[in-house]
């Protein structure tokens, strides 16, 4: 991901919030951008699960709805 220069941005819906990110980034890039690299997470794009092995190759499109989840206490 080239962060230098004039970036073209795109809008994603991440966990329900609109977020501007550089166009063409991967899911792996997004997780890094969000500072969640070392967290135990799972993710969906447009309601479809993305296996962790696919984060680096999964390129995001404008308007994608991303869900990033983790475990919490619950009963």
């Amino acid at each position: 991901m080239n962060l230098a220069g004039n970036l073209t941005m795109m809008t994603l819906l991440v966990n329900g919030d609109s977020r501007e990110v550089p166009a063409g980034i991967t899911l792996s890039d997004l997780v890094a951008l969000l500072g969640l690299e070392n967290r135990r997470l799972a993710a969906e794009i447009n309601e479809n699960l993305v296996p962790r092995s696919g984060y680096t190759t999964c390129r995001l499109e404008p308007g994608d709805r991303i869900e990033i989840i983790h475990a919490v206490g619950g009963g």
Binding site: E67, I68, A71
Partner: protein
């Protein structure tokens, strides 16, 4: 060695091919903090522990402790649930996320709720979700109402455990309909675990005395005035009820029967 000492190792139950000694399953919600969660679970003696999955808070600091950190996987079987799901599709998505999150973990507790007031299951949507999940290789433990016919249907579909409610989730009302729970138990070949509605230790004992294989609870422990003490109480209540079931209780009689002998009365 006393041959009659009840050997817990000899009274395990088998769920999805794994053997468990503790018949108390606990949730991890509603505690004050993770340390209280950890202590309560330890006191409960539980081996199977439910968690939920929720959106990661973006503002969260990376160092914040995570529920999984207090649940070492070598010690606890994690049971992700679908709490909060009101339709089959969402429940299925939740299970898939949990499976990925926990490295192809296939054991899930499926609940598809009908409304927020009662948190009763929507059994039709639950059937639909169970079918999909079982086809995808999940081991489904299913939260349902106390209808014996539905319980049998879930078993026939391939659910690995059927979990009828005792009373509404978080109500603490105890087992509302013992007859139904008993009938479900008598019909079943998979484990029957009472899920939801237990309020105190005697409720847990009653569930076990009805022949259930175990009880899952959360609020009854977490919302007690002293959750750690209540976790101990529940552990003992489950054990007491299980032993009483195995021991075979005396028949109840309407009238009295003297405990001391009638022979030899000197008056």
């Amino acid at each position: 060695m006393n041959p009659s000492f009840p050997d817990p190792a000899g009274d395990t139950f088998t769920l999805a091919g794994r053997s468990f000694q503790s018949r108390l399953l606990v949730g991890t919600g509603k505690y004050q903090d993770l340390e209280q969660t950890r202590q309560a679970i330890e006191a409960s003696g539980a081996e199977i522990v439910t968690i939920a999955v929720r959106r990661t808070n973006m503002g969260q600091t990376p160092g914040e402790p995570n529920i999984l950190e207090v649940l070492p996987p070598d010690r606890y079987t994690i049971l992700p649930n679908t709490a909060g799901c009101y339709d089959a599709k969402t429940a299925v998505r939740t299970c898939r996320l949990a499976r990925e999150l926990l490295d192809d973990h296939r054991l899930v507790k499926l609940e598809v709720l009908g409304d927020e007031k009662t948190l009763f299951p929507d059994v039709v949507a639950t059937l639909e979700a169970a079918e999909t999940l079982i086809a995808e290789g999940f081991q489904v433990m299913v939260y349902t109402n106390d209808d014996p016919i539905l319980a049998r249907r879930f078993e026939a579909m391939g659910c690995v455990a059927v979990m009828p409610l005792a009373a509404p989730i978080g109500s603490g009302l105890g087992i509302r309909n013992r007859l139904n729970i008993r009938t479900i138990v008598e019909n079943a070949k998979v484990p029957i675990l009472v899920d939801a509605g237990v309020g105190t230790a005697s409720d847990a004992a009653i569930a076990m005395e009805l022949g259930c294989d175990g009880v899952l609870m959360n609020t009854a422990i977490a919302a007690a005035q002293d959750p750690i003490l209540m976790a101990h109480a529940m552990r003992l209540g489950i054990a007491a009820g299980r032993l009483a079931y195995r021991a075979g209780r005396m028949p109840a009689k309407r009238f009295a029967s003297a405990s001391s002998p009638l022979d030899g009365l000197f008056f």
